[in-house]
Point group: C2
Chain length 121, copies 2
């Protein structure tokens, strides 16, 4: 067992790519991932699972077919399973995702934004 | 569906008690809980699950039988299932826990510090 904390800032400094989640920790069958986003993602949903967004730096909006939510640092939101959503960030925003291991970022929507789902940093 | 973010600071302002986790969100069968700690907790383990600690404010130490880890704001640590641990904080520390719904804070160790495991704020 390694007695080393996972420091969000240090991990965020290790990559620049946007929309490519990086795994930083695993708890049972769930993973914690960091991602940098800017611009508009694709509409998608995850039929099998809820998904948690926590904003670490910057601001983001999650659009839904019937509403939207604005998230600031220190705020968390649970996107319920099966609910279509589209993340958007006017400027770069740094996010912590919590979701089942193996989840694909674009869910049911194949896209050029579909990223590998197994990259640890 | 309610389009309301969960703001850690606002939720932390709703209670003063220490060592009593408050549920703020649920993702599938997992819950996100806030807890304020100060002093020494009891040695315990959770035979059935890993447990995630994220420090939001202050500092804490998690002691293990064969080591310890010091956590600062913006740092995360996964305590593996079955591993005995004792959280300690010299001054009040605010933590986000991620763990299966229904988990008891003192695990296998009944104690006067055993808290209700179903309190939402």
């Amino acid at each position: 067992m390694e007695f080393e904390p996972v420091n969000f800032r240090e991990k965020l400094n290790l990559f620049d790519e946007q929309w490519t989640p990086k795994i930083i920790a695993q708890m049972n069958d769930y993973q914690f991932k960091l991602v940098k986003i800017e611009g508009e993602f694709v509409w998608h949903s995850h039929a099998e699972t809820d998904e948690v967004f926590v904003v670490l730096a910057g601001e983001m909006v999650i659009e839904f077919r019937n509403g939207r939510i604005h998230l600031h640092p220190g705020e968390l939101f649970v996107v319920p399973k099966g609910v279509e959503h589209k993340p958007v960030a006017e400027n770069e925003c740094h996010i912590l995702l919590v979701e089942p291991a193996g989840l694909v970022n674009t869910g049911d929507t194949a896209s050029e934004l579909t990223a590998p789902n197994d990259v640890w940093i």
